[in-house]
């Protein structure tokens, strides 16, 4: 799979991972304390933030693996920075990335429009929730509460990651920095075939 990848594409994904790591810290630190107080549900609405890097990279690079790899690399970098969630972050990164990848694979990597990206965001949310259900023991919670958490996370994935990722990809395309990547080769830019 890696044969067809250029080094600059891999380094690009890695730097995206770092940028999102920083922006995430800047945007989120305000919410940490009340998140601690109101329990695990506090994180659900902002889960989509973690999936953006998958969707943005896929929108730009458009190759099989362009959703799993950046999410994995971003997770490795966060672990390198001493992220207190620890090594299991790498595992959850791979799983979230696979969720997003599944949506693009289902459309055979031919369509990169808003609907597919929202689907990818929702896919990442579903995969990460199944994993979280197991690791965080949601089985001990009331099913209707779990359903509420699930709905929030899927919405967050579709809206923050799907719409946000598309929005960022279009904004970035307009800067002209993306010449030489697959996104610039289609006529309608981000709209896809």
């Amino acid at each position: 799979m890696l044969k067809s990848w250029k080094l600059k594409e891999i380094v690009l994904m890695s730097l995206f991972g770092v940028v999102f790591g920083i922006v995430y810290l800047v945007a989120i630190h305000f919410g940490n304390i009340w998140a601690g107080l109101i329990g695990p549900i506090a994180y659900e609405w902002m889960f989509g933030i973690w999936f953006i890097v998958s969707i943005l990279s896929m929108a730009i690079i458009r190759k099989p693996g362009a959703a799993v790899l950046p999410e994995t690399i971003a997770a490795i970098i966060e672990v390198m920075l001493g992220n207190a969630v620890g090594p299991r972050l790498i595992l959850s990164g791979v799983i979230q990335g696979l969720g997003a990848e599944a949506a693009f694979a289902a459309t055979r990597y031919r369509h990169f429009n808003l609907a597919v990206m929202m689907l990818a965001g929702a896919g990442a949310a579903v995969f990460s929730f199944v994993y979280g259900y197991f690791v965080s023991g949601y089985a001990a919670l009331d099913p209707s509460f779990v359903l509420l958490m699930f709905t929030l996370r899927v919405l967050s994935g579709a809206i923050i990651a799907g719409i946000g990722g598309k929005y960022l990809a279009d904004g970035l395309l307009a800067t002209g920095a993306l010449r030489g990547y697959a996104i610039s080769r289609t006529k309608q830019g981000g709209a896809g075939a």
Partner: protein, 252 residues
Amino acid sequence: MSRLLHDMNPSVKFIIVTVSMLTMAFFFNPWTPLLFWVGILALQFTMSRINWKLWALMMLPFTLGAVGYLWTTLVFGADSGGEVIGSFAGIEVTDEQWAHAWSLTFRVMAFSTLSLLFAFTTNPVTFVMSLMQQLKVPPKIAYGTMVGYQFLPVLKDELTQIRQAQRLRGVSQDRHWWQRVAGTRRLLIPMLAGAVRKAERAAFAMEARGFTGERRKEFYRPVRVSGRDYVLAGVFLAVLAVSCAAGLIMGK
């Protein structure tokens, strides 16, 4: 003895930590995570030299999160039967729910202690080198990740620069969190555009110096697995096994 965890092979440590966490997920009694948590603390205390003040500071948000878990599970716990042992503000708590709630709370504490053990005793660069040498992560990905890691301070400076430049041109400062969230696009686009250009330059420089991304058998700085790593892995697994077994017996 006191620096054993620092010298442990990062890949072995990574696998052990992940396996322990996945195993913990099968237990819903309070004793298993509690014992495991105590065991990890003991290992960290005897086999590493770390800054415990900093450790306590990093543990703080997780302790808050654990409290959040405790009351969420008490209030929104699954209806799993068992005797009602008390009620508060109209919410009845059964002994099952009580046990589940403490189990999840201690699980959060055990997970975060384990994560901090990894974070405090692992050199990030050795970790990635070990991932490449022991777990066969492709060199392209390993070194690509390293580039990102090394660029972190540069990108942080760039964020400050972009903010200052925008302020200079009269962009008002965001006072509320919703303004800050809405304003992230203004910061993200230039940051990402800068990242694209830096990535291109770095990749070009690497290739110009002969980086092909093919797998090697020999490395400039080899990271090895020694007998000591197996012993340490055995110690971790013993702690895990004892807490699982004890939890099953005491949870009855």
